[in-house]
């Protein structure tokens, strides 16, 4: 029987603990990536605290540990591209717009939130910046983004569609239907699989015969790369290659970003996944930290000082705190929103 491909060292928790290599990378991008990753993480930790103290009662799927992927990809997106997320999409949203207030107000169910208080953490929207929506049905936005790609193809420009999903979404039928459709119809879609090796509560080894998702792209003749997703330089390099290819050829591309989520599947805790105790390797995996490995690289090479990092974090803390207070003070949707929004006209 044919041997299936495997992630190899990318799937080994002992690997990639050291500072990333930034040789030849654009320093301005590295600094802005450091800012974005830090901002996303600060927001996630703030939401975590809000869940612990019950200020937040809406279910949140935090993305701590996975921030570098959206940051590296968003660098190459334009406002007219069409981006779709899933249940764990705070990073996808913030990497595009840095709209801390929109996220916080939405999680609190406020009418000033990204989805006017009608979506919560799992349904985020920012039409002006090309974030067409995130929804929590696993795999659901993969074919929707594929159709956004069909629209982009019909438009005739160079816009692309992007869909973020996890390794578990690759176990859904529509994922396979979508790859077939995109390959067959030549659709400009970027498929980004954030492979964190876990579904809500089960390790990939319990769910699939091998741990790499790019094999499905191969099966559908879609060009693909398997990337160390916690290295923002590698993410950005792969994203550039993929997005340039799609804009030019109008064909799909598949990026498998290997990562690890620090957060449990849902809620504030790290130590358990929907009631199942997390693996002993959890603390080892956390050494593959996209934030520390980037800041160390910048510090080691003298591109940034500790003082600058501290100042950046202080300014992020201020942004987070101010937006949180503002969001707490904002009003909830009025009762009539419940029925008014069902149809465009009643």
């Amino acid at each position: 029987m044919k041997q299936l491909k495997e992630l190899g060292i990318l799937g080994d928790p002992q690997a990639f603990h050291e500072a990333i290599s930034i040789e030849g990378a654009d320093v301005a991008f590295l600094k802005s990536a450091l800012y974005d990753i830090s901002l996303i993480r600060a927001c996630e930790y703030h939401l975590r605290d809000g869940m612990y103290n019950k200020t937040i009662t809406c279910p949140c799927h935090l993305c701590v540990g996975q921030e570098a992927i959206a940051v590296g990809i968003s660098k190459f997106l334009q406002k007219t591209d069409r981006v779709f997320g899933a249940h764990r999409s705070h990073a996808h949203f913030l990497a595009i717009n840095r709209d801390v207030y929109g996220l916080f107000a939405e999680v609190l169910g406020k009418v000033t939130g990204a989805s006017k208080g009608m979506g919560g953490s799992m349904h985020l929207f920012d039409g002006d910046n090309g974030f067409k929506g995130s929804v929590p049905i696993v795999g659901a936005t993969i074919p929707i983004a594929t159709g956004a790609g069909l629209a982009a193809k019909m438009d005739g420009g160079d816009d692309i569609a992007v869909t973020y999903f996890g390794d578990a979404a690759c176990e859904e039928g529509p994922f396979h239907e979508s790859l077939n459709l995109a390959a067959n119809m030549k659709l400009p879609v970027l498929y980004v699989c954030e492979n964190n090796l876990a579904s809500s509560h089960m390790h990939i080894s319990l769910r699939q015969p091998t741990d790499t998702m790019a094999r499905f792209a191969e099966a559908h003749t879609i060009n693909n790369l398997v990337v160390e997703g916690n290295n923002v330089v590698e993410v950005a390099n792969a994203a550039k290659q993929a997005i340039d290819y799609i804009r030019e050829t109008r064909k799909p591309f598949f990026l498998e970003m290997v990562t690890y989520r620090w957060s449990g599947h849902v809620g504030p805790t790290e130590d358990s996944d929907v009631g199942v105790k997390r693996a002993a390797t959890h603390v080892v995996w956390k050494n593959r930290d996209p934030l520390r490995r980037l800041s160390e690289a910048l510090l080691n090479s003298g591109q940034i000082t500790q003082l600058e990092i501290d100042e950046m974090n202080n300014s992020i803390k201020k942004i987070v705190d101010e937006n949180w207070e503002k969001a707490l003070a904002a009003p909830f949707p009025e009762d009539h929103a419940l029925l008014d929004l069902v149809y465009t006209k009643n």
Binding site: S115, G147, A148, D155, E177, L181, K345
Partner: protein
């Protein structure tokens, strides 16, 4: 004025849309093959090009969700499902996504996609080639559900569905395809303004139906007319959101209500119409117990004798009406 069939009406609706609205495209299985969709799509691919009339892989879910995705990006796609049974693979994009997209994003976006689902039954096709699942979809807030009962509506409601900014389930029925009608030139109508219509006025009993069931009810009413019984016939046209005023006013006049529904009985459209009317009328308003004539609660059989007793006939409708009018007479005595 022009005489057309129901199938012509559908095709003319598509022609109007593709000619006048460059944001409209059609996607689904069998669109390049008349075998799938009868004459209702004939030559549209030749006239408007295979870039806009797209025959697709056998992927109901991804194709339906793709159309939804394109609708979020400035297009008005129509997804054609040659059989409603096969569309069951596409429940998520219809029920979870399209129907809720506007609401869950706070009204900042909407999904103007039309799902055309064809009811295609009889001929010993059996359980998975014969269903009428309209009641399922009418249960979903955010999804407009349209069932044309006449050839003119087959055309005009298709146009209205596709030009509506909400997702619409347009359900047509192959048993209606030969129905004839005289129509004027196509022009856009607003779906939100469309509701149940009294197609035949009467005084003794109100008959309600949608799609092919309207046709059955109408034929029964025409037969009764010759026998001196006056039936008022209401064609529902849009079953979600459902507007009750016309039906309630009619029942208030005739005091008798019989609903003909091509679906199953339990939790179906027939029961819903009766409940919706009854809760709007004072107790004791009716002269006879309301009735629904539906399929029996069983999957469609293949064996010919079983199939014969499975589908609703005019005879069954007449039996129901006779019981009601008999009980009415006794009440009057």
């Amino acid at each position: 004025m022009q005489k057309i069939t129901y199938a012509d009406g559908i095709r003319m609706g598509f022609e109007y849309l593709l000619e006048n609205h460059k944001e409209v495209f059609v996607i689904g299985q069998g669109l390049w093959s008349p075998w799938y969709v009868g004459s209702s799509m004939r030559d549209l691919d030749k006239k408007f090009g295979r870039e806009r009339v797209i025959d697709s892989p056998v992927s109901e879910f991804a194709v339906t969700a793709s159309a939804l995705g394109a609708s979020l990006c400035g297009y008005r796609p129509v997804v054609v499902h040659p059989r409603i049974d096969f569309m069951v693979f596409a429940m998520d994009p219809i029920v979870n996504q399209a129907a809720k997209w506007r609401h869950m994003f706070g009204g900042q976006t909407s999904a103007p996609v039309t799902f055309r689902a064809i009811i295609n039954r009889g001929g010993e096709q059996g359980a998975q080639h014969s269903q009428s699942l309209h009641s399922w979809f009418a249960h979903i807030p955010g999804l407009r559900v349209v069932m044309p009962g006449t050839a003119a509506d087959a055309r005009d409601l298709l146009i209205a569905s596709v030009l509506c900014d909400d997702p619409v389930m347009y359900i047509d029925d192959r048993w209606s395809y030969d129905m004839e009608d005289t129509v004027a030139k196509a022009k856009p109508v607003t779906l939100e303004d469309i509701g149940p219509l009294v197609r035949k006025e009467g005084t003794d009993i109100t008959l309600v139906g949608a799609g092919f069931s309207y046709r059955l009810a109408r034929e029964v009413a025409d037969e009764y007319e010759a026998e001196g019984i006056s039936c008022e016939v209401i064609d529902l046209r849009v079953i979600n959101p459902l507007k009750y005023d016309t039906i309630v006013a009619s029942v208030n006049k005739t005091k008798n209500l019989c609903v003909v529904d091509g679906g199953w009985k339990t939790c179906g459209l027939g029961g819903e119409i009766i409940a919706g009317v009854m809760e709007k009328l004072p107790v004791g308003s009716l002269a006879s117990a309301p009735k629904r004539v539906t399929l029996t609660d069983a999957p469609a059989p293949t064996s010919a004798p079983l199939e014969k007793i499975y589908y609703t006939t005019k005879k069954e409708i007449r039996e129901a009406i006779n019981t009601q009018l008999q009980s009415h007479k006794e009440t009057i005595k």
